[in-house]
Amino acid sequence: MGLIRLDSICKYYSMGDQTVKALDHINLSIAKNEYVAFIGSSGSGKSTMMNILGCLDKPTEGDYFLNEKEVAKLNQNQLADIRNQEIGFIFQSFNLLPRASALHNVMLPLVYKGIGLADRKKQAVEALEKVNLADRMDHIPSQLSGGQRQRVAIARALVTKPSILLADEPTGNLDTQTTQDIMALFDELHNEGQTIIMVTHEDDVARHCQRVIRLSDGKVVEDYYNENKEALHV
């Protein structure tokens, strides 16, 4: 049984009197410990896919099962709990709180989880150590480089030990070298058993993933496994 099961998922937006089909009857299943990349040109429905998988948005039609739970039946607070505990978000523009230190940023999801201050600090420090940023935890985001910021964001996503890591163009704002470093970190996490789903338009990045799903006009047009997965050679 898959970790994620999408059953005829549709998402429509109305633009004036036109209806845009961002996602059009998508059937998909993703198992535990998969390393999946959604690729496609802009407007193909990648971001909508991310929002629905991340429980930020609800599909117009269709059923989404996450860990056997039917997401459509959950209320706002239950969805918040899912986002907090089952999903770790990583964004293209990092989306860290600008005035809070790295440590505070990583501790934030634990606040919503209801963890006490001492435990929170301990778990956040562990997560930062995992991304090799333990020595930078008192810095605020503007004092960190792009790669370091994305590491903080990854630590924040990991700190609640989520079932899925959802990354939306995680290397879109980074240079080639930093991209390599971040992807190496993702590969490492995957090797440790983390389920990772990312959206990208860079073939180099997609090549790291086990499975590649190409979207076009809201439909799945390709779904294949990478045979020469670079991560395996690392």
Binding site: A80, Q85, R99
Partner: protein, 409 residues
């Protein structure tokens, strides 16, 4: 509870991060609370000192004074409490511990007091030894009038410090003789100064034995006596008042349809008039200045709304990583409350300072007094303002859609 503490933590971080703006935001509340506290403290100081003055009457004493109703005054009649009335009360009234009659000097223009070429005008009254307790007088030098002073009509007097100064009497005037109304009076005591009240000195007086005063007044004019009655207990206050009323009405031959030509007052009656004025003053002035608190609250709401817009993206991030509606709501609400409470605390301190300053800069004004209830109300009101004006921005923040908020640039 947990999220409450967390919200406080994050609110304080946020207030600190925007130090100067937070200060400007709270300025409205600071001014509002400060002016409220300043006004209340000055008025309360005033009322406190008035109550102090009246404490001298003692809680279980009543006073009787003559009072001429307007209709009688038209007919040229002037009511008096006479020595005969006093005698009758002494004989017939029940439950009275002792009576302290006070006889004002009515010697008119000649009431100047002289000592070695100096002359002064003072309030001269004749009374008995019980007056000291009733008026709470403490002696600085010498002694107060005694029972026998009255019995033997001694020509002695107890004076206040202001009169001593005016006459240039020595620091300890006991033993000096002062001249009043054709008689030399020996000073036997000087009272502790009481200071001034509403700008009038309370130490400008000379007190003579009641009988001596009667002698000085002569028989030319009917004396008018002011009576203070010390009661054994307050339990039968009403029945004692009724009895006194009947005695004096009978003495004055008043017909049933005629009004009383005297007034029986309890200390509560004396103070209630003034305290009523003061409480009205407190409410009106407090009301006016508390309008500025509402204006301050609107200022907080304004800044909080700006802050919500500014932090839309942050709110989106928080929602994406699991913040529930109430987390965001509480965070912004508590931030507003923290801001206004901060303003409240600073305002209370400044207001107290202003009150003390105002009281100190007006001569003879009683010291400012900030009652705890005013601090409580100022504190509670500023928290209330924070909640009321924080709800709208907080609700706006909490209701943001996470996707829209994340996309917000």
């Amino acid at each position: 509870m947990f999220s409450l503490i967390e919200s406080f933590r994050s609110a304080i971080i946020s207030v600190k991060a925007h130090g100067f703006r937070s200060f400007l935001t709270t300025l409205g509340i600071i001014i509002g609370v400060a002016s409220t506290i300043a006004v209340v403290s000055v008025i309360q100081g005033l009322s406190y000192s008035i109550n102090q003055q009246f404490e001298g009457f003692g809680s279980n004493s009543i006073s009787i004074r003559s009072f001429t109703p307007r209709s009688e005054r038209m007919k040229g009649k002037i009511a008096r409490i006479t020595p005969e009335d006093v005698e009758m009360i002494r004989k017939q009234a029940e439950g009275v511990e002792y009576i302290t009659p006070t006889l004002q000097s009515n010697i008119g223009g000649t009431s100047a007091i002289k000592y070695k070429g100096n002359q002064a005008f003072a309030n001269v009254a004749g009374t008995t030894y019980t007056y000291q307790d009733v008026q709470n007088l403490d002696m600085k030098y010498g002694r107060f009038l005694s029972y026998s002073d009255n019995q033997s009509r001694r020509k002695v007097t107890v004076i206040g410090d202001k009169l001593r100064e005016e006459l240039s009497l020595p620091e300890n005037p006991v033993g000096s003789f002062i001249y009043f109304a054709g008689e030399w009076l020996k000073v036997i005591g000087l009272t502790e100064p009481k200071g001034s009240f509403f700008g009038f000195s309370q130490d400008n007086f000379a007190i003579l034995p009641y009988s001596t005063m009667q002698g000085l007044n002569g028989n030319l004019l009917e004396p008018d006596i002011f009576l203070q009655l010390q009661l054994k207990s307050l339990e039968n206050l009403d029945s004692i008042k009724d009895k006194l009323k009947r005695i004096i009405r009978k003495q004055h031959h008043l017909k049933p349809d005629e009004d009383d030509d005297f007034k029986i007052e309890t200390p509560e009656q004396l103070t209630s008039g003034i305290s009523q004025v003061i409480s009205t003053m407190t409410i009106v002035l407090g009301g006016i200045v508390s309008i500025s608190l509402i204006v301050g609250g609107i200022g907080i709401m304004n800044i909080m709304l700006v802050s919500v817009t500014e932090r839309t993206r942050e709110i989106g991030i928080c929602k994406a990583i699991g913040a529930k509606r109430h987390h965001i709501l509480l965070q912004f609400l508590i931030e507003a409350v923290v801001l206004s409470l901060l303003g409240g605390i600073i305002g209370i301190i400044i207001g107290y300072g202003l009150g003390v300053l105002a009281a100190a800069s007006i001569p003879n004004f009683p010291p400012a007094n900030v009652p705890l209830w005013a601090v409580g109300i100022a504190f509670g009101f500023s928290a209330f303002v924070g909640i009321i004006f924080g709800i709208l921005p907080a609700a706006k923040a909490a209701n943001l859609d996470p996707i829209d908020a994340l996309r917000y640039e």
